[in-house]
């Protein structure tokens, strides 16, 4: 009888505490969700790579610079959603519809990931693009000891030794492989693609001689180029790069890039579906302030990126054009891969 009352009291106390907590929760639920506020609080930035990965670093750099330029006062925590090369991050953002305190650092890879999946859980079109910030020019590197002085030499080598030369890179669906496939198709050549999950082993594969060529960004190669171990032989653009003024572009070397999008590896910031124009305006303001800082220019230079500040309908058009021109390449891949 005594123990029973004691038990009852404990149980009642627990129930009261729990209801109290839940009631409190539901009371406050409304305030944070309303999307009208001009300055979103507790902003979190979603990326598709783990700590130390490309997008993770990019997001952290943006947060650092935005704090320095007084665009934001608090730190934005970075959330990793690494599943499926952006698919996970996009699905995560899709689930945060109308919550203005979530933004994602997207890359052009997200478009390809959605194209290469039969029923993608989300695509970039579901989200609200806020701004494109940068484009990473793709360049071609070979070991210094390589006989190939330019990309024409390499293609000639591939003609002489069909299916013998090796290009190294990441997943088969990555942009560097897709544009290489396009060149192979155009020139009637074929070479192998060696996938590594991490960047380090790709460079050592080149240095070791297991691979003969790699398409990547300036930041992938700069140190090795300075140390005299790698050489840049082509730029995937119609303009030469400031960092490598003597390296001819693919167009100069006689390759037709008109079927490829002008920007191959772009990065930007997107919000969840249905983000209000007011909130989009807030983020555009913060980013606009940030890209004018000397720190941003320095970062762009060290990465070999060019600033591309595109917003609004121009950004939507850019994404649509990229999607259209990449679709046939991705589809040719999934046909051959299976």
């Amino acid at each position: 009888m005594k123990p029973t009352t004691r038990r009852l009291r404990v149980a009642v106390a627990f129930a009261v505490l729990l209801t109290g907590a839940t009631a409190c929760s539901t009371l406050q639920a409304g305030t944070n969700n309303s999307s009208g506020t001009a300055t979103p609080k507790n902003v979190q930035i979603v990326v598709d790579t783990g700590p130390g990965g490309g997008s993770d670093l990019f997001a952290r750099e943006i947060v650092k610079l935005a704090q320095q330029t007084k665009g934001i006062s608090s730190n934005w925590p970075v959330i990793s959603q690494t599943a499926g090369g952006g698919l996970g991050a996009m699905a995560y953002m899709k689930g945060k519809a109308n919550q203005t305190n979530y933004v994602a650092a997207f890359t052009s890879k997200w478009v390809i990931s959605a194209l290469g999946t039969a029923n993608p859980p989300a695509s970039l079109k579901d989200l609200t693009p806020i701004a494109e910030l940068a484009d990473e020019t793709q360049i071609v590197a070979v070991p210094t000891s390589s006989p190939y002085k330019n990309f024409k030499d390499f293609v000639a080598g591939a003609k002489a030794h069909p299916n013998q030369l090796v290009q190294t890179g990441g997943a088969v669906s990555s942009v560097d492989n897709l544009i290489a496939l396009k060149v192979q198709k155009d020139t009637g050549t074929k070479w192998k693609y060696l996938s590594f999950a991490d960047g380090g082993p790709r460079i050592t594969a080149l240095l070791r001689g297991d691979a003969q060529m790699m398409i990547g960004a300036k930041s992938d190669f700069q140190e090795q180029v300075d140390a005299g171990k790698l050489r840049i032989i082509a730029v995937f653009s119609d303009k030469r790069m400031a960092a490598f003024p003597n390296v001819p572009t693919m167009t100069e070397q006689g390759f037709d890039l008109s079927a490829l999008p002008a920007q191959l590896q772009f990065r930007g910031i997107a919000g969840p579906p249905g983000m209000s124009p007011a909130a989009v305006g807030y983020y555009v303001g913060v980013l606009q302030k940030m890209i004018k800082s000397p720190g941003w220019q320095q970062y762009m230079d060290s990465e070999g990126d060019t600033t591309q500040f595109v917003t609004g309908s121009a950004l939507t058009a850019l994404i649509n054009k990229f999607t259209t021109s990449m679709t046939p390449l991705v589809h040719s891949l999934s046909g051959a891969g299976q």
Partner: protein
């Protein structure tokens, strides 16, 4: 024979067979003839079928008499019908079911309420410790862990579908 091992062998073989059927859609060799995406899954699920059959058949042949004292844990399982063995499994099972129930609660109510319910279920229901100390543990552990992760380390924890309160942001 050891009934548990026969069942386990059958289950492993069945799992292997399922994995093998699923792996059929994946290319065993790629276009260039090197092992493709299906190479490892096919070999491994095949191996599982073989291992499951081997485990099942060898345990069928084994006589209980040949069992030595070293394997008393396994003996206990075969004797799961005995009252002590059954009550042990029931206790572990009860804890597991509480753990399982906590996940949907977590989805709907968020971290702190769900974990408080989990700890309360374990201490009041399974452990039958209906005193104030249990109540303190059921409140302090979830709230403490929440504060540590969310506010000190800024690592988000599930907020639940409806709850975005003091323990939601």
């Amino acid at each position: 024979m050891q009934r548990a091992d026969v069942v386990a062998g059958t289950a492993v073989a069945a799992l292997g067979a399922f994995a093998l059927v699923t792996a059929v859609n994946l290319a065993f060799l790629s276009d260039s003839g090197v092992p493709g995406p299906g190479f490892f899954p096919t070999l491994l699920s095949g191996l599982l079928v073989v291992l499951g059959v081997v485990l099942g058949v060898t345990s069928l042949r084994k006589r209980p008499a040949t069992e030595t004292g070293a394997e008393d844990e396994a003996e206990e399982l075969t004797a799961a019908d005995s009252p002590s063995g059954r009550s042990r499994v029931l206790r572990a099972g009860a804890v597991w079911v509480c753990f399982l129930l906590a996940v949907p609660i977590l989805t709907y109510l968020g971290f702190v309420p769900a974990m408080a319910i989990l700890v309360a279920l374990l201490l009041f229901g399974v452990e039958r410790r209906l005193d104030w100390r249990s109540l303190v543990v059921a409140v302090v552990v979830p709230v403490g862990v929440y504060e540590l992760f969310v506010h000190l380390l800024s690592i988000p924890l599930p907020t639940g579908v409806i709850a975005i309160g003091p323990f939601g942001s």
